[in-house]
């Protein structure tokens, strides 16, 4: 059974308001931010429109065109504010003259694509720290509430609110521009955007709380935003690569967690539980990207996920190809985490001995001592070699470093199963 909430034509008006806002708020914030030249004002206006909707929609029913309703209401709130404060007559004029979305027609997306792109590049500006970028992106583009984002990142709402305020203040005070970078800066800046979206996705994917549904929400939000970027920049193969990577990873979501809530490794996952529609879409998106020349890191990671996706069962996996892809990835992005993943693939291809040699090298490198997956991998390889005491020590070290309950249960079961 899919554990992803499919949105029915909901009768719960509060839920309906939340869904409509999540889908529309990025677009409206982006347009208003351009029109009023203030992200803060735009966000407040959309927030006020949201609160009005919560009051009005349950009484009078959903408006026929929710997107248009939100846009008009938020725009009027922003205009009210500007007039009330009467400080910026120039902005009032500029906002009056700005064409706004007034219809639900998705084709209208194409009329103002630059607005959301501008907002993406502003939220993911490298002058902001990585945590702030993810939070801003989910808040301003994804329309998630501060409390939802706070729960996802395991901080209090007050802390997250402070982080958002600080980031927005920096955007305004430091003069972070509201525009899509020039073509010479674009590759570099785009990389920052993709890294932010991927960070948002992995925050959802690697659940560190028991709040599974929220986590899936964040994953799906990251996929949705990446899809928006993909539609806006169809000729950037790395954007397609990231979307493919997310789709292929997320297609396995229902198989990743067992009935008892423990983590199920890729090789043990019942592949019938994979979301085949999503998998096929991921493969298709990747295929179109790979026609574009030398693949970048997201396409390469997606290609690894695709090799897994294409194996009918775990034993059919083409490990030789996966090792080759990890070699390519190591060239692009050298680092111990990639080296560890390569070690796992080598173990599959050449046996646990060969894999352990590489995993031990990663351990000797020292940078991953605090990384539970390194110890879990060593535990697994040592267990397969019959070195039970060493395996137990490695699993115990992994357990000490693990927060996620599903992963903890998995490690405990491995320790119990040793020597049986």
């Amino acid at each position: 059974m899919s554990r992803v909430a499919v949105e029915p034509p909901t009768s719960d008006p509060h839920r309906a308001v939340a869904v409509a806002f999540r889908e529309q708020s990025g677009k409206v914030v982006a347009t208003l931010a351009r029109a009023f030249r203030s992200i803060d004002l735009a966000e407040d206006a959309v927030q006020e429109a949201f609160e009005t909707a919560l009051r009005v929609w349950p009484e009078r029913g959903m408006p026929e065109k929710p997107a248009a309703w939100i846009t008009t209401t938020a725009r009027n709130k922003a205009l009210d504010r500007v007039r009330r404060e009467a400080r910026r007559p120039d902005l009032e004029a500029s906002a009056q003259g700005t064409a706004l979305v007034t219809d639900d027609d998705p084709a209208l997306d194409e009329e103002i694509p630059d607005d959301r792109l501008r907002l993406v590049f502003t939220c993911c500006h490298p002058a902001l720290n990585a945590e702030a970028r993810v939070a801003l992106t989910l808040r301003l583009l994804g329309g998630l509430s501060t409390s939802e984002i706070a729960r996802a990142f395991l901080v209090t709402e007050a802390t997250m609110a402070k982080r958002l305020v600080r980031a927005k203040r920096k955007i305004a005070a430091a003069g972070i521009p509201y525009r899509v970078p020039d073509s010479d800066e674009l590759p570099n800046r785009l990389h920052g955007v993709l890294a932010t979206l991927y960070l948002a996705f992995t925050a959802g994917h690697v659940a560190t709380t028991g709040d599974d549904l929220l986590r899936l929400d964040i994953c799906e939000e990251a996929i949705r935003l990446t899809r928006v970027l993909w539609r806006l920049m169809p000729d950037e193969p790395e954007v397609s690569g990231l979307l493919a990577l997310m789709l292929l990873t997320h297609s396995r979501r229902d198989a990743r967690v067992g009935d008892d809530g423990s983590l199920v490794l890729l090789e043990d996952q019942p592949r019938r539980l994979w979301d085949h529609t999503m998998k096929l879409e991921g493969l298709e998106v990747l295929d179109s990207a790979l026609r574009g020349g030398t693949p970048g890191q997201y396409q390469t990671q997606a290609a690894i996920a695709a090799v897994h996706a294409e194996a009918a069962q775990a034993d059919d996996t083409d490990w030789d190809q996966i090792v080759g892809l990890y070699d390519a990835l190591l060239d692009m992005r050298p680092g111990p985490v990639v080296a560890l993943n390569r070690a796992v693939a080598v173990a599959k291809r050449d046996g646990p001995d060969a894999g352990l040699v590489e995993a031990n090298e990663v351990l000797a490198g020292g940078r991953l001592e605090g990384y539970p997956y390194l110890h879990a991998t060593r535990g697994d390889l040592l267990a397969r070699l019959g070195r039970i005491a060493e395996a137990a020590a490695a699993f115990r070290r992994a357990l000490e470093l693990t927060v996620n309950p599903a992963e903890k249960r998995y490690l405990e079961s491995r320790i119990e199963g040793l020597g049986r």
């Binding site: 005070a173 003069g175 970078p181």
Partner: protein, 115 residues
């Protein structure tokens, strides 16, 4: 907008080779010319070594002096520019061309606009 580009780097512990010094000066002169031509540099100065610094604090009406810069850090402020740029991206573009960015760090701070 105006930005302060604060250049910090480790101070040389030994006498600098005159040839190396000349190269550094040439690099700064080239940056200054390019920045002036683009109308970006409002002003800019290099500072004497931190050993010449005196830190001044007034407490309870008494002026207290300390020999040296206000913070003991590895990187020492060695100079600054005031840059006039339309936005942070432009300021970063210019700050990245300050020769000190290659060897030390350049902190870019917007100058507060008081209306």
């Amino acid at each position: 907008m105006k930005y302060l580009a604060l250049i910090a780097s480790e101070e040389p512990t030994e006498e600098v080779d005159p040839e190396v010094w000349q190269q550094v000066m040439d690099a700064y002169n080239a940056f200054g010319e390019a920045g002036d031509k683009a109308g970006v540099i409002v002003s800019g100065e290099a500072l004497e070594p931190s050993a010449t610094a005196t830190t001044v604090r007034v407490r309870d009406g008494e002026t207290l002096l300390t020999d040296g810069p206000f913070a003991e850090t590895k990187e020492i402020i060695g100079g600054y520019y005031i840059l006039d740029c339309p936005d942070l991206d432009t300021a970063i573009h210019w700050a990245a061309q300050i020769p000190g960015a290659k060897t030390g760090s350049v902190e870019v701070r917007p100058i507060m606009e008081v209306s």
